[in-house]
Symmetry: C2
Subunit: 188 residues, 2 copies
């Protein structure tokens, strides 16, 4: 069974985007060599990526560009090469390399794809999809990079998840730039 993980930067108050759907705060002061190495390690994995439309459009507008190849060659290559699943009710096609557009209900689609042979899957951003998959207990691992900023308002990747699910904290790491990374595995 293919594993599904989600990796997002979150603020001290738990949001993955600010009230304007902006994620730039997550990168401020983030150019710590230790964090860059960690991010690169994650991005070079052979995982497939899963996106909602909003995150897909943001990522697709950056990673295939020459600026991305120049700024972060290894991460850009990893992002462009990875198989990508994109959930959207409004898009007619997806043009970023190795992307597949999915029109099904996210929980149904991921249940189906988990059973197919293939690499594990990682969600980035895409809070609307994360919350639906968390509600359906399809997320096996939650990776949080906690950024030392208070946003005051924004979007939660677990919005309206019910039943108060508990997780098992499996590992954590602190970085010199104030980030705290924590990994949680699903219990039930």
């Amino acid at each position: 069974m293919r594993k599904v993980s989600v990796f997002n930067s979150v603020s001290m108050d738990g949001y993955y985007t600010d009230a304007n759907n902006d994620m730039r705060w997550a990168h401020e002061g983030g150019d710590d060599p230790e964090v860059m190495e960690f991010t690169k390690g994650n991005a070079q994995g052979t995982n497939a990526l899963v996106f909602g439309r909003v995150t897909y459009e943001m990522m697709a507008a950056f990673w295939p560009t020459p600026e991305a190849a120049k700024q972060m060659p290894d991460v850009a290559k990893g992002m462009n090469d990875a198989p990508k699943y994109v959930f959207s009710r409004t898009l007619d096609k997806v043009t970023w390399s190795n992307s597949t557009l999915l029109k099904e209900d996210p929980a149904e689609a991921i249940t189906r794809i988990k059973r197919m042979p293939g690499p594990d899957m990682t969600l980035l951003g895409s809070g609307t999809i994360v919350s639906q998959l968390a509600e359906a207990k399809l997320i096996d691992e939650v990776l949080l990079m906690v950024v030392p900023v208070v946003l005051g308002s924004g979007k939660s990747q677990f919005a309206n998840v019910t039943g108060k699910p508990w997780w098992k904290m499996s590992r954590s790491k602190t970085f010199k730039n104030g980030r705290v990374f924590v990994a949680y595995g699903r219990i039930s």
Copy 2:
């Protein structure tokens, strides 16, 4: 100048109470000897405590009771002995030992009290007061005990804080029961 800190348990999605204003989830599976020792160490400090009305009423209904003295004698003694400031527009008096009722605007009152001689102050719960003091840049240290549960909805202690304030992560500690403690100091 007296320092102001806030110490709250928060869920993986950043809430300090659930949607029903309940904080019981924060104690589930919390009876790890290491966490108990850590909590006791914090509660035995000589800090003054600062509360909003809701948290005050919850705490005042428990800590002075014989059950509290039996279950957690050291913490109960610390809580009962500590000087306590209580913000409420509706209460006429506060009867828990060593409590002072404050009717002023929280930011004005804390600005005044910070300049008076006396012990440092710690807020527990009291998100409405925390967010007002954070907005006024009166909180010097934020202590988070991150509980490995997703609440899906609830209250944030930093609700509507503006200006995206950044903090300096000063220390962290992981516990065997899955809690992650992180301390942040104010930068500006």
